[in-house]
Symmetry: C2
Subunit: 307 residues, 2 copies
């Protein structure tokens, strides 16, 4: 059974400061510290594209895990900001990395629930097709679609990419997943004419009403309770939403990290960025992951340390 | 084991005639008849979007198969021309059809290989997650990105959508798949600044060199030979490429349909449009399907009549 073998991350070094823009945007220090929890936003360079962020993440994987590109049998990219509408970004990445022609490649389009969904897609696709080694990328650089004058979105999102190596020789195996969709609310977080529009209140209400029951559902589906979980990795939308959900569910703060102060909400990359440092922390045996956002869409899953 | 239960199709009634444009484009009757094999191109209305094409296909399914929307557990849309970059088109369709919140939804981004890939994705996703009833849509209206003055693309592509009902109670079950990617050639079929650019010669050479070996590979993976197959459903790029591949492989013409004269190359919809009339043709027991195009990407699979 395939699972998570390794994760590598690329967060561009360039930063925008929310403090430096607070007067321009009419926001306070308290708002930045307590509600957003985001001091800096990471920004890719003008010469970079989504596929380049993926390739940077892969270079880290290649350097640390000694991956041989010729061993990769499938490559999946989760993005809603592809290099082009067509071809798919996974094909562009396939070409840039020089992967073999026998490698399958496709993109999935999802936002903040994309990592959880993508794990289910890549795991099931590999098992059906008898594949042993796959790459699952997340890269959704919202800097491309942010209106710098939009108070509600221009202080939130940072650029990043991650790559997860999926193989039989896993560090974390994957349990049962739960999924949900509220398509009738899809217009509350939408990109029109290359500009992102977000109804923050509706997105908050959506997350507040759907995520807690979904966490109970995924625990039950896996025969677990809150006490069995060592880390609750909630999509890092903002400090306010993570704090709210943790409090509503009664999750211990030390088990519910908030880590995006230095780069912002990286959409589908937020969860793998949090998993990476836990791969070698042997005290962490069970992890619950929950993504929620664009769609409106949500998904949860359980990672269990292999042997 | 889930498989194909039903397929429904929506091809917009509006048509453009290639004959009427032949002087304007400097093409001959022989070129239209022998090389393209496409007389008319289907065109969605100015008020329609990709999600609307999907909903029209679903209305046909609902009418003929009596599907209860509340029974749908997953909805996948394959497109590279979504309504918006975000949200995903599957979420928009989910909202328009009023599907339950428990339904999973995501898009996959692939072109002409998308139906074959999508069958593998939806089958494996449903099996992993214990789902019994799913919808897989294809809808890629290239009319949005066609430059009407581009001789090589403006005579080829038609708009359409299809929906495939995937369930345990299948008419065709799915065999082993093969996949391939040549990312280094991805720039030969690309959409830049909302305009499609195609290097026709390169795409032809790509298909001519990759599809025949892939067909032999998928036959071998399923323990079959050419003689065992009742229909070879090759992606309908143009009459020239379908004729070329059939001849190169020695496929009987009566088993290798070309059917797009009245609407054009519908990208990921071309294969399901051909499968639909075979669902009730009991003489057809084994079908080979092959998609190839954008990516550059290719995939093949075998459909076998259940019981």
């Amino acid at each position: 059974m395939v699972g998570i073998r390794q994760i590598e991350v690329y967060i561009p070094e360039r930063r925008i400061s929310n403090y430096e823009r607070k007067e321009e945007l009419g926001i306070t220090d308290d708002f930045i510290t307590d509600k957003l929890g985001i001091t800096y936003l990471s920004r890719m360079g003008p010469e970079q594209d989504t596929s380049d962020l993926c390739c940077m993440a892969f270079q880290n994987l290649r350097g640390r895990a000694g991956i041989d590109p010729s061993s990769i049998q499938v490559l999946i990219v989760c993005t809603q900001n592809p290099d082009y509408n067509l071809p798919h970004t996974s094909a562009v990445v396939h070409g840039k990395l020089g992967l073999p022609e026998s490698c399958a490649a496709f993109d999935i389009s999802l936002g903040c629930s994309g990592y959880v969904y993508g794990l289910a897609v890549v795991q099931s696709f590999m098992q059906l097709n008898g594949m042993q080694q796959g790459l699952f990328f997340t890269a959704d650089p919202y800097s491309r679609i942010i209106d710098p004058n939009d108070k509600s979105t221009s202080v939130l999102f940072g650029d990043a990419a991650t790559v997860t190596l999926i193989s039989n020789d896993s560090v974390f195996r994957l349990g049962r997943f739960t999924f949900g969709t509220r398509g009738k609310g899809s217009h509350h977080l939408i990109c029109r004419e290359k500009k992102l529009h977000m109804n923050g209140r509706e997105i908050f209400n959506f997350a507040a009403s759907t995520v807690p029951p979904d966490i109970h559902r995924v625990l039950e589906a896996n025969g677990l309770t809150i006490k069995d979980i060592d880390r609750f990795l909630l999509h890092q939308g903002s400090k306010f939403i993570v704090d709210f959900l943790a409090k509503k569910l009664g999750l211990p703060p030390e088990k519910t990290p908030f880590v995006i102060e230095e780069y912002g909400n990286t959409v589908s990359s937020s969860i793998p960025i949090m998993i990476k440092p836990l791969l070698n922390d042997l005290s962490v045996k069970q992890i619950l992951i929950t993504g929620f956002g664009v769609g409106l869409s949500w998904a949860s899953g359980i990672l269990t340390r292999s042997s």
